[in-house]
Amino acid sequence: MNAMMLCYALLIGLALPLGLYMGRALDTDRPSVMDRLFGPVESVLMRLAGVDRRASMSWSAYLLAVLKLHLLLVALAWLVFMGQGFLPLNPDGIPGMNWDTALHTAVSFATNTNQQHYSGQAQLSYLSQTLAIVTLQFLTPATGLAVLLAITRTLLRRPAATDAGGGVGNYYVDLTRIVMRVLLPLSLVVALILVWQGVPATYQGAERVMMLDGGATQVIPRGPVAPMVAIKQLGTNGGGWYGPNSTVPLENPTGLSNLIETIALMLIPVASLIAVGVISGRRRLMMGIGAVMIAFSLITTSLIVVSERLPNAALAGLVVADSPNLEGKELRFGSDLSALWGSWTTQTSNGSVNAMHDSFNPLGGLGLLMDMFVNVTFGGIGVGLIGYLLYLMLAAFIGSLMIGRAPELFGKPLETREMRWISLAILAQPLIILGLSAITVTFPGLTGNSNPGFHGLSQVLYEFTSAFANNGSGFEGLGDATPWWNLTCVVALAVGRFLPMLVPLAVAGWLAGKRTAPQGRGSLVMESGAFVGLSAGVIVIVNLLGFLPALVLGPIAEQLVLAP
């Protein structure tokens, strides 16, 4: 537990100054000293791209700009993956990807998910790993944060923004600021520390060595690994260079590299919350939301850490009694650091791993699934807090009715149109995850299960949950490189990304056009502890109602069967 508490303390200690910095550096309405430092480069980039930096977009134009850019990103990545066999930077001579895995990979990375139905070191060239994947690993977390900034300006800022044209900001300006002022500098620092610790950074191809005992050949894949791993961790991306991700010593060599990668995966999601508090002036509300998130985080992390300290039932009587579950885990990390990473990576929709989740004990797997259902325990960059706002809107509707008021959010009336879309965005999650899981297990030829029994159902459930949550981790025994898995996951990836991210932007836009009701003594106080508690209750109840039956049939049943 000491390592776990050290990581939480370090996380808060680093996220606080970063969040305060981001709150100043990313606020387009308040000039700061950072403008003088970054402004000249940014204005050159904007001029090259042909962006009018002073133009503020309406919420619908902002939304369209997001969709337009993402169509191009998918196209770029898809073409590079399919054509990598003919393109440069391919020293190991890797052929092009087939169309369905390439499409799944492109959508997976364009949705900040990084679910992988391939093994990177064997199936992607250096050009694919950098030009296609690293580019998307920067622009997709930046998009989540950009949309959060647009919502903050429109819905949360106090006093309300005075932009007469009804603008919510400029998407390209937001993206550029986030990349240049936050993601790129942090990635450079983290990447160089990782090289120091042993993560490769070279354009040379794989090295062939003769093994000491017996002389057989071992092929050691290399490449520009470190720059990718840095943004993979920092950008809630998760898609690694090597198939088994940060379990591989070349992707995560030492205790120090593991500590840095662990903190990096949670850092910006926590800092974003603080930044929004600074920009919006709603510090109390953000502190309340942060408290709920920390509580959720500690609950599932403790569950997973305790679960992985328990022995693996399959090894009873063979290994030293009371050994932790080390199947699928690296010895240098042991069970605690593997469980902590697993918990944080599913809370933040990062999805990188330093241990194989398929081999976790059933209660550990239960914790991972719960993290991904909730998906707002800090969550993906930008989208975690946006997802919480979605629940907050539902809580405001319920809370208003409970105290006998017409439903309102920050003094603006919540009406039929808003509530329809909010409900749809919340209900899409169980509909898609459970619906696709049900279809898949109905046809056993489709599942590709590698583990029998209850765990087989967990594998299917995990895959769709991970896709919808834009997480990207998996119960990796699943044989998922098939057209069925690729195409159904594309649906879950796209809906899970864009519906919960863009509906709150639309709601913010709609509410901005409405008259503010005067706040009286009977109004709903959003800053109150009672309301924040209600929002936490809404999250718990919605997820329990949606997913408890599936959890009982999967990990809970598996645990009951294994219990001595």
């Binding site: 977009m57 000491l212 591989v248 030293v320 080390l326 081999s359």
Partner: protein
């Protein structure tokens, strides 16, 4: 509400007036960022990494006294001979280009079968009875190329190594101690390849 009326309500027609930039802007922005983030940024890290840490940047390769590359300090190798310390089970037989874990669930009978077979082999080789075997020697790592074993897993192999190589057990134990890592932020561990290279006098 129908989808059509949603589209109407979002005033899609206003996009141009907002100066949001058309498809051309999106395309130019995409290509610009792909060049900056997808090509230039990795190039800068590779350049700085090669300058500052060339050994690590090229994969932490180990050479023997004759200068032949014998492996990577970070990547485990397969050891089967009694003359060598043996590493953890691997789902891919230490093929570094096919890295993977077993992905076997605790409830999968295949995991029990594999562990029983490995336990029998360890009992026959090192005389350690079932129930006394360190857990890392019966569990496959996530990567399949874990370079380490626990100090306990090394300790149960010392007597065999000393016997086969005609060394004093205390000398082998001292060597294990030298290649152990306990001060780092991770778990206590021994690098198997480095230890075996040292045994062969090739480190």
């Amino acid at each position: 509400m129908s989808f059509a009326s949603f589209l109407n309500s979002t005033r899609l027609g206003s996009a141009r007036r907002d100066n949001a930039g058309g498809a051309a802007t999106a395309l130019r922005f995409t290509l610009l960022m792909a060049g900056l983030l997808g090509l230039l940024y990795p190039l800068v890290v590779v350049g700085l990494g090669q300058l500052a840490f060339p050994h690590q940047a090229n994969g932490s390769l180990l050479s023997d006294r004759e200068g032949r590359v014998v492996g990577s300090a970070l990547i485990g190798q397969r050891f089967t001979g009694d003359r060598y310390f043996q590493g953890r089970p691997s789902a891919v037989d230490y093929a570094a280009d096919a890295v993977a874990g077993s992905n076997l669930a605790p409830s999968n009978p295949a995991l029990r079968q594999r562990a029983e077979a490995d336990a029998r082999r360890i009992t026959a080789r090192d005389g350690v009875p079932p129930g006394r075997i360190p857990a890392d020697l019966l569990t496959a790592s996530g990567s399949g190329v874990d370079p380490h074993i626990s100090p306990e897993a090394a300790a149960i192999q010392v007597a065999r190594i000393a016997r086969v190589r005609g060394l004093a057990p205390s000398a082998v134990t001292a060597l294990v101690e030298r290649y152990s890592d306990r001060g780092d932020l991770g778990e206590p561990r021994v690098n198997v390849l480095a230890l075996n290279l040292a045994l062969d006098g090739r480190e």
